[in-house]
Structures are given as C-alpha cells and as structure tokens.
C-alpha cells in the first residue's frame, strides 16, 4: 500500500485552505457577536451570533475532515516520501512548541502575579503607597482567597481529585508508550488495547475535571470572577482541558486508523504526532499540578 516515492510531493490546488479561512472568519464574526450578545457587557442588539458561530464550527469540522481525508489518501497512496514525512514531523514539533509558548504566557502571568503583583498590593517594595492608599486591608497571600476589593473564595486543594487525576494522566502516558512500542513491533492487538486504555483514561480525566469545576463553582465559591486566583485557575486548567479534548480526539482518530490497519507498516506519522501531542498535554499538566494546585 505505501510504496514510498522519492520526489517531493507538491499537491495540486486544493479548496480546503480557502474554505478553512471562510470557516475561521465565520467563527470570529459569530464568536465575537455571540460573546457580546450573551454577556451583555457591551451593547449588541443582534441575535445571530450564536447561529453564525455554530455554522462556523460545523464548517470547520467539515473542512478539517475533508482536508485530512485528502492527506490520508495521499499517505496510503504512497505519495509521501521520507522527506515529506520529515516535513510533517518537524511541522508538528514546531506546532507543539507554539503551544508551549501559549501556555508560557499564562504561566508567566501566574508567576508575575505570585511573585510581584500580590506582594506589591500587600505593601511590599514599590507597592507601599498603592497598598496604603487603595487597599490597606489587603493581605498578600497565595492563593489569593481574599482579593483587594474583598471578594473571597476557597482555594482548590491538591490532594483529593487533582492528585487522582494526575495519576490518571500519568498512567495514560504509560499506556500510550506501551502502545507506541507495540506499534513499532507491529503487534496490532496490543496497540489497540493499550491505546484504547489511553483513550478511556483520557475520558475519565476530562470527566473528573468537569466534576471539579462543578465542585469549585458550587461548593468553594471559586469562579472566574473571584479575582486573580480564579482567573488563573480556570484559564490555565481550562486551556489544558481543551487541549486534553483535542488530544483525545486525535487519539480516537488514530485508534480507528489502526483498526483500519493503517500505521502498522512504519508509515505512522499521524499516530506519533497524536502521541507527541498527548505527552505534551501530560507535561503541561504536571507543571499545572505543581504550580496551580500544590505549591
């Protein structure tokens, strides 16, 4: 099936990039209007935002499906040379690097808040006058359970569900590694059960995170609106959660491709890309667990 060619494959013209741009445009226009119409922070009398956003999302799913369908056909049609394979692999690694930098912005914000903002608001160093004049009652602490303006919340502990979730995610990385070794060894049955286990663990993790959010909102009073701690907690774990969902979908797709007997002949870029992505999500979680939940 996958006879490798030697010349570099330059695809013929394709409609998916243009249609993908249309999809992103619809998501941006629809999303912007939907946010304005549903949060009522600025005036927006319309009502179409949600519908345009939904069309945009469905449109993008369709484009992604068709685009990847083309590349999978090319891959099993033997149009990908080793050089092409390297292009995809390097492209994926740089994409993951860009994701690392995206999380870096939030980690940077968290450390800046913990090490500089909060001590300054508490009156340290250059913050003495700010503290004295604006919020003389504010106590520097981390997590900030009482914000300068008096909002209070409870902090999320580390040793209950978050620790169990850490174990779940680490285990999923182990099962994925087992699957990876089996893939290279050509043991399809082992790939399927180990990857299947990874996917199940991924879904459990997402479920536990969802429950944790409910717990935070309902029992702890920890919300997006409870000051800098809540802001950082929900955006950091939230973006991680979105990446977990994307990684899970990626693993599910390659699981079905293994079911269809793809990837077993060394032509396994997509499978390994999904695995790299999953390990990346796992490493981000470790940093999150240590800095957001624990310390």
């Amino acid at each position: 099936m996958s006879e490798k060619t030697t010349s570099y494959y330059v695809p013929d013209s394709s409609p998916w990039p243009l249609l993908g741009s249309v999809g992103l445009f619809l998501i941006a226009i629809g999303g912007g209007n939907y946010i304005q119409q549903s949060t009522s922070k600025v005036a927006n009398d319309g009502s179409m935002g949600g519908i345009i956003l939904a069309i945009g999302v469905l449109w993008m799913i369709g484009v992604m499906f068709m685009w990847w369908r083309d590349t999978i056909k090319e891959s099993i049609g033997g149009l990908h040379s080793d050089q092409m394979d390297r292009s995809y692999r390097q492209g994926m690694l740089w994409f993951i690097f860009s994701e690392v930098m995206f999380f870096g912005a939030f980690f940077g914000a968290m450390f800046y808040a913990r090490w500089l903002i909060v001590p300054w608001l508490g009156g340290e160093g250059i913050g003495a006058m700010t503290h004295e004049l604006l919020w003389p009652d504010f106590q520097a602490m981390w997590p900030v359970t009482t914000a300068p303006d008096g909002r209070t919340t409870q902090a999320m502990g580390a040793w209950g569900l978050p620790m169990i979730n850490t174990a779940i995610l680490l285990t999923s990385s182990v099962t994925l590694s087992i699957a990876h070794h089996a893939l290279i060894a050509g043991d399809r049955a082992k790939v399927l059960w180990a990857q299947g286990a990874t996917i199940i663990l991924a879904l459990i993790f997402t479920g536990v995170q969802a429950y944790e959010y409910v717990h935070a909102y309902r029992d702890l009073g920890l919300t997006l609106e409870s000051g800098i701690y809540g802001s950082l907690f929900f955006l950091m774990t939230g973006f991680h959660g979105i990446h977990v969902v994307i990684g899970s979908l990626f693993l599910i797709v390659t699981f079905f491709r293994v079911l269809k007997r793809h990837h077993m002949d060394g032509n396994n870029f997509a499978w390994e890309a999904a695995a790299w992505y999953w390990h990346f999500v796992d490493v981000v979680w470790l940093f999150l667990f240590i800095t957001v939940y624990w310390l």
Partner: protein, 528 residues
C-alpha cells in the same frame, strides 16, 4: 521538466484562490501587503491632515485615536509582516533549490486567513467612519494597553481581539512552513552555512514568530475574558495588574520588532554584495549576529515601559541588555560597509534603496540607543522622539528594504526590467520626503510634544506643518511604485530581463529563467 508540469498549471480564479504554488502565494502576499500599505498610509494621511495645524480641523479626537491605532495595527500586521512572508515564499525555495514550500496547502491557508482578519479590522474602521451611531473602531493605540482596551474598550475591541487571533494563526503557520522548508528542503550540498543570508535571517525570524505569536494570543485572550467573563488579569481590585498586560504584550512586542527587521537585514545582505561585486564581508559573523539579536530580543521587553514603575534592578537589567543589542547590530552595519569597501560599486535602484536603508536605519538605531538609557527615557517616553525612532527603523528601515527587494527581484518575478525613470522618481521622492516627514519629529519630541494627541501646543506648529507636507509627499510618492509595479507585472512593458539580471548577482535564484517558471527545481540542483 518544466513542460511536464505546464499542463497541470491551473488557470483563472482557481490558480489564485486554491493555489499550492509558492510563487503565486508569494505574489498574493506581496499584493495584499501593498494594498494594506496604501490603506494604512491613507489613515496616516488623516492623522497628518489633522496635525498640520494646531487646533481641531478635520476629525474629532476619538476618531483621531482610531486613526493612530488602526494605522499602526494595519502597517505592522498587514503591511510589513505579510510583505516579508511574501518575499520568503517567493525567494526561499528559489534560494535553497527546493521545488516548493514544505507544506504547500498550509501555505495557502496562512495567506487566506489574512483577508479574513483584516476585513474584520478594517470593517470596524469603515463602520465607525461611515455609520453614524456605530461604536468607534479600536482607539486605544496599537499597543492596546489595559485598561484602555479592557474596561474602556469600545464594542469593536472584541472583534479586534479575534482578528488578532486570526493573524496569529496565520503567522504561526507561515513560520512553521519557513522553518520546515529551510531545515528539510535544501538542495544537496546546500549546507546551513552556505545558505544565502536572507534564508538565515528568515529562519531565525520564523523561530521568533513561533515563540511570540502564541504569547500575543494569550494576552488578547486574557483581555477577552477580562472584558466579558469577569476575570481580573489586568484589574488590581481583583489582585491582577494592568502592568501585567504591558509585560506580556512587550514580551511579544519586542521580538516582534525584530521579526520586522531581521528579514530586512537579509535583503540588504543580498543586495550590497551584488552591486559591490564582492562577497558579503563576515558571512559567519552575520549569522551569529542575527542569532544574538534574536536571543537578546527575549530579555529587553521592559525597556518599553521604564516609566511605568518597576524595581531599580529591573530597570538596570533591561537598560544594559538593550544596549547590548547595539553590538551585534553594529557588527551588521560594519559588515555592510566593509562589503562595499574597495568594491566595484554601481548604483542601480536596489543598491540605492539598500544604501538609504543602511544610513537611515542606523539613524533609527542610534535614537534607539538614546531611548535605551533609562534616566533619559523618562524624558523621551511617549514623545514624538519615540515616533521618530520607530518610523526611522520601520519606514526607512523595514519598508525601504522591501522596496530594495522589490526592485532587486522584480525582473525575476515579472520577466521585465522595472521602469527606470519612474523608479528613480519613486526613490528620490521617497528619500527626501521620508526625512522631511520623520526627522523633525526628533526635535518636537525632545522639546516635549507627546505622541497620540490630536492637538499640540502652538510652539510646535511650524515643524508640524513641514512634517505633514513630508507625509503627503511621501504618501503620493508611493503611487509611482504602484505604476512601476503595474507596468512590470500586468502590462509586461520593459526591457526583457536575462536569467542573471544583475551582473554581480550570485545564488540559485539567478540560474532559473526570468520570469521564474511556474515550477522550479523539480529535480534539485547540486550545490558545489
């Protein structure tokens, strides 16, 4: 082998909309950026019309703020960055002997996201300008500091945020494509240290893009949640800090500045050796200097915010790191001058632009050195001196290098020589007017005229009148370039270009016919 592919070459709208060809996508990028250059320029004309005389004449202050904001955003993200990506698309595969960019479909996606992003941004300007009662376009300055953009941002801010997300997606995909192409698609024998310097500078630029565009995405995402979902990133009452926004923004923003100038260094390093008929002096040191500038760009960001209040140790660190950048930059200027030393110089238009770049960019670099001195910066901060500084490095730096590149490679792209008369008119007219436009800004800035105001004190009136004359003159001068481009690209009028085009030119791009055929290097050339 070119004939073999000829019947595959798509025609009509499919060729441009569904392209997977690096040359066509490069042309799309270049024309898009030129269009944005004219739109952004038009907004600058509104700014200068208002500032020509003291008092309020043309627009109201809020609309003036929208003009400064969107002029900056459109020029940075719409004109300069896509121009260099277009150049990378066209030239990198030709320079390294590759059949195309590594990921041709993603290449087209990177491009077509830009019209989507900019129709949103420009749409908000048009709605504000022509729809009475509509909310203003973004009006908080191109740096969109919180809380101007969060608590006080108009309704258009949310669409601006999403268009920045789109621009970021486009830039990241474009940059990944460049890196993968350079790392993986070089012809046999094209080792890293044999690559033309333009390829090197773009490789490093692409690394910077992948490193900082996601940080910008993070910053605007925090803005969005602060605006609508009650988070407190930039709100001190909740334990956040508006200054946090400035830190995150400039952690993106300073590497961004080098994203806009490193490819310019590459262009000039290609052109000067050709017209000096000597190899580039200090090639290896140029590579290392570029890498040093890129690495230092990550640890200088707070020099944009010396006056905001930060510990003394922080100010000293950022001051010294910033000054350190002048070392590798000085290496570059020295190498360009040394390349010309005792060369057989001729002064065709690309060389004229490149020389203007070296001199005027150095002026901008020196005013940058002045700004890096923390105590002095307390005086210069947010004055027209800053405006003069960054327009010298961006207009007579980045954009002049783009003009140099266009005149240098236009014969290769279009197959005909540019119109020399109108090209000369464009050059001299731009050169004189750009200095009339930006040089007096140093004086009014040092005398205390603040930037971003729609009015000014009477003592600045004379200079501002001359600045505005320079601005209109510079704006009109660009129409000469439009004519030169139309004549070469669409009318195909002009002297037929040879393959080599320039007598002293070296590099793989000069071994293919002019105009470059639709497919080049299907079989990789062997580099000695």
């Amino acid at each position: 082998m070119a004939d073999h592919h000829e019947h595959h070459a798509p025609t009509g709208w499919r060729r441009w909309l569904l392209s997977t060809n690096h040359k066509d996508i490069g042309s799309l990028y270049l024309w898009f950026s030129f269009a944005m250059f004219l739109v952004g320029g038009l907004l600058a004309m509104v700014i200068r019309a208002e500032l020509m005389y003291p008092g309020m004449q043309v627009v109201d202050p809020d609309f003036f703020n929208q003009m400064t904001t969107t002029h900056g955003l459109i020029m940075v993200f719409g004109a300069v960055m896509p121009a260099f990506v277009g150049l990378a698309n066209w030239m990198i595969p030709l320079m390294i002997g590759a059949p195309d960019m590594a990921l041709p479909r993603m290449n087209n996606w990177s491009f077509w996201i830009l019209p989507a992003a900019f129709s949103i941004l420009i749409g908000s300007v048009l709605m504000s300008a022509f729809g009475p009662g509509n909310p203003p376009a973004p009006n908080f300055g191109w740096t969109f500091y919180a809380p101007l953009s969060t608590t006080y941002g108009p309704a258009s801010t949310d669409f601006f945020i999403l268009s920045v997300h789109l621009m970021g997606i486009s830039s990241i995909m474009g940059a990944i494509n460049v890196i993968v192409t350079v790392m993986n698609m070089r012809a046999p024998g094209m080792t890293m240290m044999k690559m033309p310097l333009f390829v090197w500078t773009w490789l490093i630029t692409a690394f910077l893009l992948i490193a900082v565009m996601p940080v910008l995405a993070g910053a605007v995402t925090m803005m969005l949640t602060d605006r609508h979902f009650g988070t407190s990133f930039f709100d001190a009452a909740g334990g956040g800090d508006p200054v946090l926004f400035q830190h995150i923004f400039w952690f993106f923003g300073h590497p961004e500045v080098y994203i806009m100038i490193l490819p310019a260094f590459g262009v000039v390093s290609a052109i000067i050796p050709t017209f000096a008929r000597k190899p580039l002096f200090g090639y290896a040191s140029m590579v290392y200097a570029t890498a040093s500038i890129a690495l230092l760009s990550f640890v200088v960001w707070a020099h944009h915010m010396f006056t905001v209040g930060m510990p003394l140790a922080g100010m000293l660190f950022f001051m010294y790191m910033t000054m350190l950048i002048s070392v590798p930059t000085g290496v570059k200027v020295f190498n360009w001058v040394a390349t010309m030393w005792r060369g057989s110089l001729t002064f065709e238009l690309p060389m004229k632009w490149a020389l203007a770049f070296v001199i005027l960019f150095t002026i901008g670099g020196l005013s940058g050195l002045m700004l890096s001195i923390t105590p002095a910066d307390f005086q210069y901060h947010d004055s027209y001196f800053v405006v003069a500084h960054f327009h010298y490095v961006l207009v007579s730096g980045a954009i002049f290098s783009m003009f140099a590149a266009v005149y240098y490679w236009l014969p290769k792209w279009s197959g005909v020589m540019y119109d020399k008369f109108w090209g000369e008119v464009h050059f001299w007219s731009s050169l004189i007017s750009v200095n009339l436009l930006f040089f007096p800004m140093h004086f009014v800035g040092l005398a205390g005229m603040p930037r971003r105001y729609s009015d000014y004190a009477l003592q600045f009136a004379d200079y501002n009148w001359w600045i505005s004359i320079g601005a209109f003159w510079f704006g009109i001068s660009q129409l000469f370039l439009l004519w030169v481009l139309i004549k070469a690209c669409f009318l195909k009028k002009g002297e037929k270009a040879t393959d080599e085009v320039w007598e002293g030119a070296e590099g793989l791009e000069w071994t293919v016919p002019s105009p470059a055929p639709f497919h080049t290097f299907d079989t990789p050339p062997v580099v000695k």
